[in-house]
Symmetry: C2
Subunit: 323 residues, 2 copies
């Protein structure tokens, strides 16, 4: 049994801390709770409480380092969160704040990078050294593993697949705006939050679809799960939407495969997990959209660690550099 390391996953509404076995990636103890407030100080306090709760089960022995995954852009190893739209943060030195509170070094990374590392090390790409892990959930992101190491890039923001441009603006058909401030990004089309908002708006405007029946006429309840349900039941609107989104996802992921030539592609995230029809469209179109030589021996696997991947990856990344 390996030494336990400590990881934290900060989402937009929840926080969780976990003890993770460094040798096996198994979660030995986990503590999750809703965030009561989203200010940096409130999140520091919530993280400290969650960490104290799981650390208590470790017999109280102190941790030498802690890793945090957070839904936002993190500047390299500085621990500064440049932008976390779900929390409303800009330029928050979260690593330093939490480190001061806890008295140990804290490493902060993007949550999807952490999850990609968790999947790569102890999930669907275990033992594989060149990996692309793509998550399609509320947002869209990826992690790139090169030669067995997470590729972080010059500023630590590599892997932003959600912000590759998939739709140039065309006359009469402006590109969809993205939460990042730009438009035409993959996430604007395929991220769960943007997708749900689009469907709500189109259904409210009278789009011919059975989705409205699935939510008892309450447009505000629509999620991507309803699109999947309608699509599986033969709904034309839902099918066209999944075709459009699937095509964009397949092309963007295929382009990353062409560029990186990974050995394995891992597909995960809530939207893909909950939408087998969409996932099938992506998987079936991907090989033809990628360079044949890069696609020839590529294996595609579903993410294996679910919501746990982020906290596992954060713990592992946080413990790097330990003796």
């Amino acid at each position: 049994m390996g030494e336990p390391v400590l990881g934290v996953d900060v989402g937009g509404t929840n926080i969780r801390a976990a003890l993770v076995d460094r040798e096996t990636g198994a979660v030995r103890a986990v503590e999750g709770r809703a965030l009561e407030g989203r200010s940096p100080a409130e999140v520091v306090a919530a993280a400290s409480r969650a960490i104290a709760a799981v650390a208590g089960r470790h017999g109280g022995a102190p941790f030498r380092r802690i890793g945090v995954g957070i839904a936002g852009q993190v500047l390299g190893k500085s621990g500064v969160v440049l932008n976390a739209p779900n929390l409303g943060w800009r330029d928050v030195p979260f690593g330093a704040m939490l480190g001061r509170e806890l008295g140990v070094p804290v490493r902060v990374v993007n949550d999807l990078s952490a999850a990609a590392w968790g999947e790569s090390r102890f999930g669907a790409a275990r033992g594989v050294s060149d990996v692309l892990v793509v998550f399609v959930g509320t947002g869209v992101g990826s992690g790139i593993v090169v030669g067995g190491r997470l590729h972080e890039g010059a500023r630590g923001v590599a892997g932003e697949l959600g912000h590759v441009k998939v739709r140039p603006p065309r006359p009469g058909e402006p590109a969809r705006p993205c939460g990042c401030g730009s438009s035409g990004c993959l996430e604007a089309y395929a991220g769960g939050a943007n997708l749900a908002a689009r469907v709500r708006s189109e259904v409210a405007a009278g789009a011919p679809t059975q989705i409205l029946d699935l939510v008892g006429g309450d447009v505000s309840r629509i999620t991507t799960a309803h699109v999947e349900e309608a699509c599986a039941a033969g709904d034309g609107y839902a099918r066209r939407l999944w075709d459009e989104v699937g095509e964009l996802l397949a092309t963007a992921v295929a382009n990353a495969v062409t560029l990186l030539n990974p050995e394995r592609l891992v597909l995960g995230g809530g939207v893909l997990r909950g939408s087998p029809t969409l996932r099938e469209i992506v998987e079936s179109r991907l090989p033809a959209a990628a360079s044949p030589t890069a696609a020839a021996e590529l294996t595609i696997a579903a993410a294996a660690r679910g919501d746990e991947a982020g906290v596992v990856g954060a713990a592992l990344l946080g413990s790097e550099g330990e003796a």
Copy 2:
């Protein structure tokens, strides 16, 4: 003065061999000649002669390893050329053939990967560890340097930027076919050979442009240099073409920057070198097309080693693994 290493660059019509200083990247001697035939045996013979000529200037001391860059897809470290359209090759074990002829190990790599490595080590990205090198010449390709090493990918075909898809087929506007057998690839729109063929065809069909005057009415003489010349002189057709191509290049390169977050981007290749207007369009649009955080500290540099980069990179890659 470092030990000289030997590199070979096999193009579609020419071959060159060079002695390269391993410590400085300087070319000490070079021997270039036209290819008289394109069969694998003829290219082996031409390479052997060129190598013998430059090796003679090294005092006849034998080389322990040789690196070859070739315009084609090369399978990992096998030395097998999967596909070299300009030479008409498929599945040619060129490394083994040349190695048998010369009696030393031969490493074969894609020519643009070799050139990217040459630029990265001893050109426009010297001393930088995370680099993206993009070449727009007859074809389009790139090299990815991660942590100071050339990223080759699982099958050795990483960096195929020319074959990322930039135009999904749309009703009434089919995507342009690419030499790779697919369609909608960046190279189909921005590669010099495809561009020249397109302009010849459009000018022959009566496109309103002064390009026809620049070639004295001989459509077959049109190259991308004439598009640049016409664009600089205010020709509307040429400007629209450069806008279209520049936009596609900027978006594809920006997407690679978003994904990889390199510290430096190097732009090279004959088309960009000979078309400052096009290059300016690409450089001016790139920052807005990339993720702001990935673009924030990116530096863009012109390739510094010109046609020499390929043979320099091939020599360096070939000598890797030497004691």
